[in-house]
Point group: none
Chain length 193, copies 4
């Protein structure tokens, strides 16, 4: 296995276990065993358990941000963009539930892990936040969204999707998440308009 591959394998293993069992209930030994390597070897790739969690967030965040960015760049109405984003997001949850779960369950609720001196842990997700802001601003520009408080619009998008993520993790939703696309898009769109 090449060095980069192993780096990714560790990251993935950590992501999965963190999101399944939580950061504090996951041990370095578990992360290592999960991919058949020794615990000590992880420290050749990441200087600490915390840094592993941080790298994982950066990784997921960038993926999400890129997804949203692609949509933002299209010549579409805000309504269509919302639908596309919801669609793409649900696909993402289906394909990589551990990543989204990680984002919501580990990142949002263990800020002490991610924030450093003089640096809010939020910065790690800045790219994603920026794209959400752009989505909202564009909608306001076209007159489709009302120009209310940014944080409330932000909450309408991220909060609703976050809640759906939780419910999905709790397995109360239909496994085929795509069936919710229209309904969810509608809710979010209306919340913003």
């Amino acid at each position: 296995m090449k060095k980069k591959d192993k780096y990714n394998a560790i990251l993935e293993s950590a992501l999965t276990l963190f999101s399944k069992n939580g950061f504090h209930n996951t041990t370095i030994v578990q992360i290592a065993k999960n991919i058949g390597i020794s615990a000590g070897s992880i420290y050749s790739y990441f200087p600490s358990k915390n840094s592993l969690a941080k790298s994982a967030i950066t990784f997921v965040t960038k993926l999400l941000a890129r997804e949203l960015q692609k949509i933002n760049e299209k010549e579409l109405s805000a309504k269509e963009k919302i639908t596309l984003f919801v669609q793409s997001y649900l696909k993402f949850i289906t394909k990589h539930p551990e990543m989204i779960e990680y984002f919501f369950k580990v990142y949002l609720t263990n800020k002490e892990i991610f924030s450093e001196e003089n640096k809010s842990g939020f910065e790690l997700a800045q790219e994603f936040i920026d794209e959400v802001e752009r989505l909202i601003d564009d909608g306001i520009a076209t007159g489709e969204f009302r120009s209310g408080n940014f944080y409330i619009s932000f909450s309408s998008i991220v909060g609703i999707l976050g809640a759906i993520t939780f419910l999905s993790c709790e397995q109360v939703l239909d496994e085929n998440l795509e069936i919710y696309t229209a309904d969810l898009s509608h809710s979010i769109y209306r919340a913003l308009s």
Copy 2:
């Protein structure tokens, strides 16, 4: 101090510290010292640290449920109920941020602590969920809300309020949360209708 008082003092101390520092970063000794008792003494009231967390959730959940129940029982339009609930919720955050924070940060993301064998951790919040369901059903009955998927409606309420709670904890919002009442109610109401 009477037995019940001490029980409550412990619960409150745990709640505050758990929500501030997270479940795993809070020690029994801290919880005890915080109210001037000994660590061992906590075990006369709660059999374990986990059970303390569970009792705390039941406590908060009941408070929230009761609040929502009072509103549900009024003879009002769904729109008015939403506004009232948002108002009441924002007041609650302002007054007891630790409780709401606890609900979102500890409960939702540390399920392993709360769930027992054959029992989803969600049951602890059942009373609250029931009241949210009632709010939605009543709105549908009056024709104000569309009769879409319950979970999406649920997410529109709880997700948006949850996101606002996070932002409030992160101190990006105005300290006087009540100024968001109208905007928030509007978003939620429209998401549901």
Copy 3:
């Protein structure tokens, strides 16, 4: 066992093992087992292994300083004081070889353990150094010692005694160290005069 007694027992155990095997070859578990307690329990008394080493130095240093102070306070010639100090020192080595050994072997050569930010590790021994300085200054005042460089006089006392300590630890000397008193005192006295 009372709290103070246990504190002392730990200190003594650490001192003995550190001096016998060195700081880095002594584990907290050994220190604990040596006096029949658990490793974790040491942390109720000392916050870290380093701090244990520091407390030990302060302890030994104070003992030595007090010994020398008593001699300094007597109305005697410098020559007599040197003899008394050598005598008392050799008795000390005989009785508490681990303490002296600790001072020379652990303290002097593991400065990184003892020094904190902006603070030389030497300060822990300041009281002892001060008394040595007083001994020298008094001798200069009476004309018995030449008024050369302080550090060289200091080295003549502490260096010679230190070397003897090493040799004693290496068991090349007669077990009855007192037989060296006259010879040693002579050497030191002459080195200073």
Copy 4:
């Protein structure tokens, strides 16, 4: 780089780092990186970290012994020899502080590293000790030194120089150590006579 050169480079690197940071705070990787080779490669030259430390001591000890031997072989009074030795020693400290520091800080105080089964760690320094003994014996033969206990005479030389070395490492002395030559020689000479 030739084999012998690499061997020496490793030895020198180890010596420097051991004396600066202590044996236990120096890693094989550091020693290797310091001279731009790989950690594994060190094991082609030395079978273990301990053996590296031993070889370093033998190396330094031989250098010192040779220095002293040259002086011993001269036709000089003991007094002059002492002065020459002090002079030469102070030059040595100035030029190779890491070597002297290594001798005193690593060797003398980490005996467990150097001693093997049935073999005191002191043997590694035997050549040096022998020359010191010769210096003393010659002085006694000429009547300049009193014929007291050998170990005390030995301590007077090595102890005083050792103490000066420590103070030099602690940077309390003038950088130009040669200014202490006369004073130091005087002290040592008188201690022996």
